[in-house]
């Protein structure tokens, strides 16, 4: 694929922001202002744009903390935001440890089944109980993504290492 084809591909799928490479908290600080500005420029509904931004932060921090491919300051991955008539989509892709796939799959399937009331309850329960084993944060990131998104999908692609793909849609 030529460079210009890559550029056109992003435009054709409505991707207005895409970062691929080493994600660290420092990088997140550097790009978050730009992301905010772009999202707000597309839609001035502050509740909607805060949801988009919130999901972007959780997705980026997942890559920072859990990407299997690491450099000293963070993890390697891709995070992208797109927009279409239907609303926004936040996508994240990162290599992950194959051993954790089953557990993560079950966890995400459970979250997909929950309605907003269940998710609110699950969030609160997790907050009370504290982070699960192996968590590097509050253990709330996926629940937060499920709560703030209209729907989300995930995939585990073997290529040959496992790539974790998480897509969240945010519609008004």
């Amino acid at each position: 694929m030529d460079s210009h084809d890559f550029h056109k591909l992003l435009l054709s799928r409505g991707t207005f922001f895409c970062y691929s490479g080493l994600l660290s908290e420092e990088v997140l600080t550097a790009i978050s202002g730009i992301v905010r500005e772009q999202v707000t420029d597309i839609d001035n509904n502050e509740n909607l744009t805060t949801r988009v931004f919130g999901i972007f932060v959780e997705q980026a921090q997942n890559i920072i903390r859990y990407s299997e491919e690491r450099l000293a300051l963070g993890g390697i991955g891709t995070v992208a935001i797109g927009h279409s008539n239907d609303g926004f989509i936040v996508e994240a892709i990162n290599p992950m440890n194959a051993e954790n796939v089953e557990r993560l799959k079950e966890n995400l399937k459970d979250l997909q089944q929950m309605d907003s009331k269940d998710l609110r309850k699950a969030y609160k329960q997790r907050l009370r109980e504290g982070p699960p084993e192996g968590s590097k944060g509050a253990g709330l990131g996926f629940i937060e993504i499920a709560r703030k998104s209209s729907k989300f999908e995930f995939d585990f692609v073997e290529s040959p290492d496992v790539l974790f793909v998480l897509k969240a849609w945010i519609v008004p």
Binding site: E26, T29, T50, Q61, K124, L127, G130, L140, E144
Partner: protein, 119 residues
């Protein structure tokens, strides 16, 4: 103690009788951010009889939710120990997610006086 807001942290003032927090909260390092605040708050609560807290957050990430949970626990514990603690959770009328967050944190406040304030 006064901290100016940054891109990722709220403005915070902590005095002998009151604490105010306003802005967005998704710090680079949640532990480094939270510890001095929780320590300072515990110290002020110990030395006072009456303490008031006002929070007006536009956004916080999931790691900060844990900090806020701990923060409210410190306040409730002080109230249980006999201090008069009042808390205002301020949210914009259109902001349903901050309203829900305020309601959820408020559920655990029994001795502390906890008010949701629509702005």
């Amino acid at each position: 103690m006064h901290l100016e807001a940054t891109n990722r942290t709220p403005e915070i003032s902590i005095s002998e009788t009151a604490l105010e927090m306003k802005g967005e909260c998704y710090p680079e390092d949640i532990t480094a951010f939270a510890e001095p605040i929780l320590e300072s708050l515990a110290e002020k609560l110990k030395a006072c009889d009456v303490y008031s807290v006002s929070l007006e957050l536009r956004y916080f990430n999931s790691s900060s939710a844990k900090f806020l949970f701990d923060f409210f626990e410190v306040l409730e514990d002080a109230a249980v120990a006999g201090k008069s603690v009042s808390i205002e959770w301020r949210y914009r009328s259109t902001d349903n997610s901050m309203k829900e967050a305020g309601e959820d944190f408020g559920e655990d406040m029994e001795e502390a006086d906890y008010q949701l304030v629509e702005i």
